[in-house]
Subunit: 309 residues, 2 copies
């Protein structure tokens, strides 16, 4: 029996090395060289299936190397009746928390205004605000949102979070439901989106969501492009409802050369680099989920297809 | 008896309110309206003495509202035979830690390259490095250096620190002495300066200090302008020894309009805004040090004139 690697060929060597370091006895094969189909008991996928993976009769489970799996749930090349696991490895969590902390601090410390002032040789003495006076609302309190929120709270910011179910996380005021969303957003100076993309969250970054924020709030969006209503964002920036947006994910990637975000003075574009899964830390989940799949146990970060994540 | 406020008049109301909130019974007077000189038992100063403070015969101690006091030690308008206290209030520490964390993360996550790429509409996918592979060397492990270093270590970076005497701080490898300085610097990708300015540390940011760093290291300097040899910095940037410098403090402030730092593509200038003392958090030290001065006790953060800080 063997594991089939059907993720990005550019990353195959790194994943193979990381998996073999943990479990030298596992046999790895690489799409499209699967060998006899009946020998494949586990598959690793990422951005999309590279071809039809429905013919592996003995496939016990599919492991995504991505944290967001909305695209895989809709991928017709994948069998829908096998357990699918997301990957939220520690390297990815660390990267995402860094990204969120960096951009919360850059907003709080007025990095963009200071960079413009430097270009104009202007000595602009902006006294730092006390972080306790800055409310940060985080949409999504899964592994990523909880870790980023805890770190931001540790720096003294006032942190609120919203998720499908209320969470108990030290330093984070937790909300859920539609009414909870408005309470979470009310008066917040920074809005961070780390939600999974589901039918409930598609387009959630829209005018109605921006309306309860403090005037001139900052949006930091590192979840999925389809969460964002781009027209509503541009209108909110124009109206001053938002003063700035830091965006890592887009409806179409790479972002088209003529997209208005590139040259918008209030938009910071980062090219989907907020967080990546690292084979060195992610391989442990693969090895453990392979074991669980063969044993018929629930997987680490197994996707609930009804919820969509 | 009364406390004489001889700091920046623009901040007088905020300090008075913060002090009175803690100690309504203390009498405050404001330079130059000191009333009878013999009634002044404590003085508050900041950037420099606004006039001759040597005539207050009953002055028991002087409280600086600044963390760095090298300028006050050389101020001929201050009596040299009275205890002087620096102020390292919690608000200042929080601000400095924010500044250091922000710029360490911006360097690690290649913020400057990404901003240039955005201007060119370039989708530049720079995979985040693992923070454990990035060594950050902090010069100065007093209240500020220890707090910033602890926070950076908590984010997963490898943190070393150098100070006059070796410190025991969880998550920070500590060095002291001349040989310790070279060990602390060796191969570091980020160099943070938070030292006090003394005769020993004046000009310490020079070619010899930059030489042991990793090629292309980043300097983050938020201590005092006189720590930095500007010519050596410009040469190190030119040679690629350093790839970038983030500088908050300058030999002359505000920075002259024709200074080369303003338009240097590898230099980030911030206008001495890394950290400020906040009356709300600093007043407690003033009230307590006034009490200690009258009781003849050692002050909080009392300056050792021999060490210079």
């Amino acid at each position: 029996m063997a594991i089939l690697y059907a993720d990005d060929p550019a990353d195959a060597a790194a994943w193979a090395a990381a998996i073999r370091a943990l479990a030298p006895g596992l046999e790895l094969r690489f799409w499209p060289d699967s060998g006899p189909a009946a020998e494949i008991d586990f598959a690793i996928v990422g951005g999309k299936a590279p071809g039809d993976l429905r013919g592996f009769a003995n496939l016990k489970a599919i492991q995504s190397t991505w944290a967001g799996v909305n695209h895989l749930l809709a991928d017709a090349n994948l069998p829908f009746d096998r357990p699918l696991a997301r990957m939220v490895d520690q390297g990815l969590t660390v990267s995402m928390t860094e990204y969120v902390v960096l951009h919360v601090l850059d907003s709080a410390r007025e990095g963009p205004r200071l960079r413009v002032a430097q270009c104009a040789r202007q000595w602009l003495e902006l006294a730092p605000q006390s972080p306790g006076g800055i409310a940060v609302a985080i949409l999504g309190l899964g592994t990523l949102g909880a870790d980023a929120g805890t770190r931001i709270s540790g720096l003294g910011f006032t942190v609120r979070g919203w998720s499908r179910s209320r969470k108990e996380i030290a330093g984070i005021e937790s909300f859920s439901g539609e009414r909870g969303l408005r309470d979470c957003l009310a008066g917040a100076q920074v809005l961070v989106c780390l939600l999974p993309l589901t039918e409930d969250t598609r387009g959630i970054l829209n005018a109605a969501t921006f309306a309860p924020l403090a005037h001139g709030a900052v949006l930091i969006h590192a979840a999925r492009g389809a969460h964002l209503n781009e027209a509503d964002l541009l209108a909110a920036l124009e109206a001053g409802r938002l003063s700035r947006a830091v965006i890592d994910v887009f409806a179409t990637e790479p972002l088209a050369a003529d997209h208005p975000f590139w040259k918008h003075p209030q938009v910071t574009v980062t090219p989907h680099v907020a967080a990546i899964t690292r084979p060195g830390t992610g391989a442990a989940d693969i090895v453990e989920n392979h074991r669980r799949a063969l044993a018929g146990e629930a997987l680490i970060n197994q996707v609930d297809r009804a919820k969509g994540y």
